[in-house]
Structures are given as C-alpha cells and as structure tokens.
Assembly symmetry: C2
Homo-oligomer: 260 residues x 2
C-alpha cells in the first residue's frame, strides 16, 4: 500500500477498515504514538507512572475522561483510527479488535505516548543504519533487569529497543536522538547486553531479531512497550492499547518533538 500519504488520509483509511496493517514507515516525518486507555479511577496513578519514567513513557497527550479526539490530531477518533487494538480484562489479553466503539466508555482516560519511529527517521537522515528498516522487520525489543519507578498499582521492568551500529555511528546516534526527548531520547545503554539482563540478542521478547555485523555493538533505547506492561500490571477491569506496530498517527511533525 502507498505509504507516503497524509496522516489525516491514513486515519480515514483506517476508520473505513481499508488499512488494517502496521503503520511502520507510513506518513514519514509524522509522529506516531502508543495508546493506553484505562478507567479514570487509575488515571492519576498511570499518569504518575509515566511522569516518573519519562524515557520509556513520554507523554504526548492525555485526554479528558470520555474524550476521543486528541489535541494532536484534527478530527481524529481514538476509538476507530488505529488499525488494531488489544483489549485486556483483569490484566489478561482478551481480544484484538479493529475498533473499540463498543468497548470504550465515558469513564475511560486515553494516553498517547511517544514512539521511536520519530527518531528512526532522524537516524536515517543522518546517514546512520537502522537495521530493522534495512531488513524490513519489526525492531528487536527486550525486557531488561532494570525496574521502572512504580506508581500506585503500576509497575514494570524497563523494555528497550535495540539497533546495532559501529562505535563511531553510536556516538552520532547519541547526538541525534538526544534532541528527541519526547520520543525516548538518548540511548539508555550500549554494548554488553548482559549488564541489563539480556541473555540472547537473537531471542528478543518482542519483535524480530536482526543481523549484528562483526564491527558493531548493540545500542539500546527505552521502548514504549514498557507502558503496555505497566498498564496491564494491575488487574484493572478494562485496559485498551494499540496492537504492537499498529500505532496512532498524529498530525505532529517529528521536528515538533525535539527539545532544541
């Protein structure tokens, strides 16, 4: 399918069920977001979890209870404008769905959190390799032994995404991604995976393995999947998230996400 389309056109296709696949590489330069919807009773604690763990959970937008049109995307509806959703009850995955019109209710609060797709464009623009894009795979993601700071009933290990580069490229990648603080920012670790509890780079916990060349080291960035683990760490009656790779595409530009 054509990937170089506007974010509003993409959302229209998705709403009409004409786009049901992942959003990787669509509307290049446009900010994509992780979605978490949960009951208003726990909205404070979940927002607190995000504020306490800004690298994996950078807050792009939080809506009023029952609201579905975010400030960062005109005429969007969060109940219909993502290609695939996950529905959790009591912390357990119950179903996947192409919309949540019948599930979302007035007492739920929606959170949109930054996603590393933004800085991948910047890495490519700087001439740096993004192996998962080169190999047309989902990025490799790993659960680490680092714990996030909990808040109320929410806790989670830090999840990271990994892209391999030479040490020289790693230095440039640190500089480039530092600017993108609202989409995970600078790496959290580089080199020895065992230092952060990763046993085998060929067996990611989420996504696909990618090739690591002999002169390369793994570079690790905080990953938005952390927020899904946190949201489902408490046995809430209902939590809705996007399905991995099936993100919400906003009207923000990647450059709007930079701190300088």
């Amino acid at each position: 399918m054509e990937k170089d389309i506007s974010s509003s056109r993409l959302r229209e296709l998705i709403r009409n069920k004409e786009w049901t696949i992942p959003t990787t590489g669509v509307s290049p330069g446009t900010v994509q977001a992780n979605l978490v919807m949960l009951p208003r009773e726990e909205a404070f604690n979940f927002l607190l979890f995000c504020v306490r763990n800004p690298k994996p959970c950078p807050v792009l937008d939080v809506l009023e209870p029952g609201e579905v049109e975010p400030a960062i995307a005109q005429r969007a509806d969060l109940r219909t404008d993502l290609p695939k959703y996950r529905i959790f009850r009591d912390g357990q995955l119950e179903a996947e769905a192409e919309d949540v019109l019948d599930v979302f209710h007035e007492d739920m609060v929606s959170f949109l959190l930054g996603c590393s797709f933004s800085f991948e464009n910047a890495l490519l623009a700087a001439g740096l390799p993004v192996r998962n894009i080169e190999e047309d795979k989902n990025v490799s993601m790993y659960i680490t032994n680092r714990l996030c700071r909990p808040a109320g009933p929410f806790s989670a290990p830090l999840v990271v995404s990994m892209r391999p580069m030479t040490p020289e490229e790693a230095v440039r990648a640190v500089q480039v991604t530092t600017r993108f603080q609202l989409t995970h920012g600078a790496p959290v670790h580089l080199g020895s995976p065992e230092k952060i509890g990763i046993k085998d780079l060929d067996k990611p916990d989420f996504g696909d393995p990618v090739a690591i060349h002999p002169d390369e080291i793994p570079i690790f960035w905080a990953c938005g999947v952390t927020s899904m683990l946190a949201a489902t760490s408490a046995p809430l009656p209902l939590v809705i998230t996007h399905s991995p790779g099936h993100m919400f595409v906003s009207d923000l530009k990647d450059e709007d996400m930079t701190v300088f």
Copy 2:
C-alpha cells in the same frame, strides 16, 4: 546567615525554625523546588495541567497521597522543611505559616516543580549577568497574555521571569538554559515585552524591578509562579504552596536536571 551549607543541614535548620528567610543562593548547585499540595480528588487534573504545560510546570517529584518524604531529599518532611508556606481555602489566601503540620492531611498529594534557581547558577558559571543576583533582589516576574493549556478545573496565564542581557549574551543564555529542561529550559520570548502583554517592565507583577542597560534586551523564561496561579484558580477547599522565594531545597544537583 551562612549560605554555603548542605541541603540536609539547611532543612534541619528550617525544621527547627532557625532559618525563616528566603532560600535564594543557599546550598549553591542544589536543586530548589516549587511546592503545591492539594486534595487527591484533583491530583490527576493538576498533574495533567503540569504535563500539558511543562515549561512553566516541570514535574520533579509527585508523592503518594499522605506521603511527606520526597524521593529527591533524604529524611525530609514537606510539612516542616520549607521556611514559609501559603495556605489557600476556596482559592483565597488565608494565612502564611512556618509549618503545615496541623493543616496537611492524609488525603493530600504533594507536587515538587522545577525552579529557575538551577539555571541561574549555570548562567553565572558561563559568565553571563544575572541582574537580580547582582542587585540582590528577587527576580522580576510578569503575568503574560499567553494562556496555558487548561486541565479539568485548572487554568492560568503563563507567568515569566525576566533577566536583561545584550543580544550576544542572549544567544549564549539560550544555549546554556536549553540543557536545563526540568527547570524551565530555554527562554519563551526575548525583546519586545508588549508582544506578550507586558505593559511596563518597571512594574513586575511579582518580585522586584531591576535595571536594564541601554544595550540590553529583556529575556523571558517560563516561571513556576504559573503553578501557584493554576492551583488556586479552582475553588478547592485547601491548597498549600511555598511562599514566594521560600523554596524546598532537595538533594538533587543542578547537573542532574540537564537533558544532555
């Protein structure tokens, strides 16, 4: 009084009512913070206000309901460790107090927000002038015509602090303060005060006026006083804040507040 003392020693003096004056310039290099305490029912909306307006209201720490020892200061007690508090009922200032042991209760949530004292040290270290320090005055603060993004019952105009510099110094000041994103970051405006609704620089809404030399322009930074206006914009039964200039002194170092 001796200003070059540790943050824990300062908090001890304050707790014993041996230090009742402003904290400007005390424990240099240590992060000072704005305090807001309010009922847990409105904690989500107030945190949302801060997240939506991160330049004036950068969140350093949020405590669980009833908690008084923040993660960023060992063995501190937010009810006793600030030299002066303000107590608001139904949005109106009721009293100032040297502790709030009898007022704070289990259903209140405490917020600590960044303060520009951190980047003032960095400006001085870069050889830039900080006129309010040179003149031993409180910084000049103004209510602007820019509105913050509201959240629930909370709204406020953006309040700014002003420091005059030459255009060349202004460029360097932008670079230096950009790093301090958790303590207001880069300026929000420079030059023509009327563009942001300021009629007379000699008549600040808070703090003292300072001299502006003929070759200088005013540089404006987002200011934590915005959070006080927001917290008292809703007629909540009880809100507690620090008294201007009488901040909470944490154990964090200014350098911990930088994004790179």
